[in-house]
Amino acid sequence: MTLTVSFTINGAPVSTAVHPETVLADVIRDEFQLVGCKVGCDQAVCGACTVLVDRIPMAACSTFAFEAEGRDIVTIEGLARPDGTLSAVQRAFLDVQGFQCGFCTGGLILLVTALLERDPDPDRATITDWLGSAVCRCTGYLAIIEAVETAARLNREVAA
């Protein structure tokens, strides 16, 4: 049995047929070839598969595709402007080299994007609480924390 699910992904309205047990990560990767959504632990722990669903960070590996019905999905591929200009969070991660292997980076950038939309100037405690949603085995997190603080500053400079 399949069902048709309609949603927007990176601004484009789409419809696709899925089985009820299909998870969103499979649709994003296999149907739409948006492979920046990485599947790591496959248990909603590591955060590499994080996407924004109606601006809320969710683990695509453990979200059923049918849950996306009518919702707005953003993947890492949809964060930069159409002309290629990076978002402030992407820019900050690049500037401070807040990554090493990069496997977790897409999910982290989307997570931090959601954080800064809710709290434009988060303190260290808030940042570390949010970074608890993602696992990075390379950086030791200090560079990532610096990237979050840099992104917040870049956002403030744009707004000023």
């Binding site: 909603a44 809320i56 849950e67």
Partner: protein, 273 residues
């Protein structure tokens, strides 16, 4: 596949296959309650359920509760009513919860991480009956009720009386007025043990809900005036499990230690123990 195409990556991703199931769509709470009694498995945020399905649990019929009016936090005459599909994040950020159950709200706001808290629901946490989850034992210690759909109305059940095979649809949980002021918890030894304590207003007895140590969380009750809370709690505890994290003996001892700490910070007749 032509030779120019890259090989499929599936084998590299360690994906767990979820067994096929039928999706049960319902339009209102009454239909959901009926479907639940008929065997459809309700899904709140799915945080626990999807995990279990990935690890092989077969569910024939899955019923998502999103879209039903089962969320929200409201003050009632009796205390605080929390809808079953209220997320951890919504509860932690609720002004009513901050006013009427600040310690419980603080507990919920510290569980897991923001991504999980924005998807996981209070009802899902309770009904999973997982030993390591925090909401259900906290509700036991608070003396809270679980509110189930029951015919055309509601049925209330003390949180500690939840049966393993409960199939009725959970509508809400209700925290009694004033209970939060006599509630404390210690998760510092999680996932070995966690202890949630509440003081009964009428009797002064100590309710101790113990998580992580058995197949399901459980509730102990120590009479008011107990002079050695640590010994009494350890003695009253059914044999805890032994696993790679800790022995049964260690768990029993730590339940006593944490219970005594909590008793000291909760005002009551055995506060000096």
């Amino acid at each position: 596949m032509t030779s120019s195409e890259p090989p499929p990556l599936v084998a590299l991703r360690g994906r767990q296959r979820i067994a096929p199931f039928a999706l049960v769509r319902v339009g209102d709470t009454a239909a959901a309650a009926e479907a639940a009694l008929a065997g459809a498995v309700p899904m709140g945020g799915g945080v626990d359920l999807v995990d279990r399905m990935k690890f092989g649990e077969r569910i024939e019929r899955l019923m998502p509760l999103s879209g039903l009016a089962l969320g929200g936090v409201e003050a009632t005459e009796g205390g605080l009513r929390i809808g079953a599909t209220t997320t951890y994040a919504a509860l932690a950020e609720s002004a009513e919860a901050a006013r009427l159950a600040p310690a419980f709200a603080r507990l919920v706001g510290g569980v897991a991480n923001p991504r999980i808290r924005m998807k996981g629901t209070v009802g899902g946490s309770v009904m999973s009956q997982k030993p390591n989850f925090d909401v259900w034992p906290a509700l036991m210690a608070l003396g809270a009720d679980l509110v189930f759909a029951d015919g055309d109305g509601e049925a209330r059940l003390p949180a500690a009386a939840l049966a393993p095979d409960e199939r009725r649809l959970l509508l809400a949980v209700e925290v009694p007025a004033g209970a939060d002021a006599r509630f404390a918890f210690d998760r510092s030894l999680r996932p070995i043990v966690s202890v949630f304590a509440g003081r009964e207003a009428a009797t002064g007895a100590l309710r101790l809900a113990v998580g992580c140590a058995h197949q399901r969380p459980l509730l102990l009750r120590l009479a008011a005036g107990e002079t050695d809370v640590a010994a009494a709690a350890a003695a009253a505890l059914p044999p805890p499990k032994s696993d790679g994290l800790a022995s049964s003996t260690y768990r029993r001892r730590m339940v006593g230690v944490l219970a005594a700490r909590l008793a000291r910070i909760l005002p009551g007749p055995d506060a000096a123990s």
